[in-house]
């Protein structure tokens, strides 16, 4: 199964905003190098949030998880976060088994994430 990668950037000159990476197909030992290649120019300018939309992702192995872990760390080092939404059940199970992406943020869908962001912004404004 191949991997399709669609990257949508919604960022500002000051590198705020978010980038969405939609994955479809299989993220495995053969396709993960391609994801790494596509992400590498994007990461420095992806904004504060990198959202992985996994709605169409059918298969992920430890090769893919390594990339997620690396991205999450890079973003965290910049004060940002990597987020995973719309996981299919078997993908969710893999994340559950590993439980090793500490502080990993998983949301059921984009709406939930947006609500979370909105709530955070409100609490910021109140400070």
């Amino acid at each position: 199964m191949p991997l399709e990668i669609k990257i949508v950037q919604n960022t500002t000159a000051r590198n705020t905003g978010r980038t969405t990476v939609a994955l479809a197909g299989s993220l495995d030992t053969a396709t993960s190098p391609e994801l790494e290649r596509r992400l590498s120019p994007v990461l420095p300018v992806c904004g504060k949030e990198l959202i992985f939309d996994l709605a169409q992702l059918k298969f992920v192995s430890s090769a893919g998880l390594r990339i997620f872990s690396m991205v999450r760390k890079q973003l965290k080092d910049r004060g940002g976060q990597a987020v995973f939404v719309n996981m299919q059940p078997q993908i969710n199970e893999v994340f559950e088994i590993i439980k090793a992406l500490p502080g990993m943020t998983v949301f059921k869908d984009l709406a939930e994430f947006d609500a979370y962001i909105a709530a955070r912004q409100r609490s910021h404004e109140q400070d």
Partner: protein
Amino acid sequence: MKNLSDCRVLIVDDARANLDVLVEGLKSDHRLSLALNGEAALQLAARTPPDLVLLDIMMPGLDGYEVCRRMRQMPETADVPIMFLSSLEDVQDKTRGFEAGANDYLTKPFEMLEVKARVRSLLKAKAYSDAVKEQMASELRVAREIQMGMLPHDLAALERAYGVELGALLEPAREVGGDLYGACAAAPDRLVLFLGDVSGKGIPASMFMVRAISLARLLARQVVEPERILAQLNDELAVDNPSGMFVTFLCAVLDPGTGRLVVANAGHCRPVLLREGVPPSWAVRNLGTALGFEPGLAFERTELTLRPGDAIVLYTDGVTEAFNAADECYGNERLLADAGALAGHSAADSAASLHRQVLAFARGAPQSDDIAIMTLRLGDRPEREAGPRMTLELRATPEEVMRGVDVLRAFCLDLGIPEPVVHPLTLALEECGSNIVNHALQRDAGRAFRATFWHADGALHVELRDPGAEFDPTRAPSVARAPGERDDEVGGWGLQLVRRSVDRLWYRREGGENVLRFTKQLGAPGEASPGGAA
């Protein structure tokens, strides 16, 4: 070694006065028994074997020479030191004494000091020789343990894996022997049995046996056809064989899925084929030549198809050449008849029963040759029905791993296995295949590994074999890092995913290859993927 003071000396003399003198001189050195005539001496010796006998010659009834000769024939006293004390002093008398079996001869009148000294000397020599014999016996016991240790022990695992019954036993004639047998799981569709008999007995035969069995086990894993196993074994054994030893040898390869049994024979007695409702027959026609004589020989094969319940009995000539007290041998006809009566019995029961019958026939006559018996019976359980199987050769690249994953997925879906079970299987294959490519085969596209999938016993089985560097993916998670990876935690993820995806996972190193196998129970249709192999 025994204390001299604990040694028992039997003094035989018809004159009480002589006895008294000897008793007086020896009583503080050793334990003593006394006899006034030959008959009494023999009875006493039989009941309580002494460590040394002081024997007078001129006695009423049995004279000393006769007592000595009889003692040499009794097993209890055959080796005991015997010293004549006699007034007869001619050379002929002394010669007669030694010819009767005595160790020493002292003429009367004697010096007590000399008697004591000679007694002590004879006892020490005997104690030393006993210690040497015990040392040898104990080394032979250890050799036997080592040799028995080479025989296959976990027949139950083979029985389960191949859906067969196996019975096997080996009784060496001496502590160690030259008979051998073996059973190897060479591949999922190849159970290899062998049985053989080395020329001679005792330590030399057992050493040749050890050499043959080690080579046979190695070849069984690498070579598919039994006649080629024999040819290569023969080539190996025929060189560096200065004492000209040889071994008769049978090799049989069973494909449990089809019941096909291929047998090759190197001069060994022909196995018995048992089918229910049919008279017993010989499984092969030809004898062939024993192994070890000269290299470069070829061997013939015989193909049979076993149906569930059919059995084959392999044995060595310790069975057919067992003799009874009337010098009759057990023989081929009796073997066919007795084995035939065992058709339908379990394999283990057949082997044990046949052995009992041979022993009953020989009825106490000493066992002249090693006895080995091995029986194989094809199981008739429905689970043995082997389902579909597929084997792929995958080159050592990530793309080939994913090709294997695609094939496995299609194979499972064709069998009607539901997606919640298929997905973890494909994940396990991806992780294990990646490990092989990255670590064992170093991403060398010129090298390949083999993946076999099959459905049996309500489970899906996957076996991966690669000829790469020794690599056990089930150990230390840090080993499972991909090249260039730095994070120690991340390295264990692949193994965790595999363990949680399958029910059983095991690794072995075999014949220069890494062999990894995992299975997943299929359960009832509609069950979601269960938890895994911890």
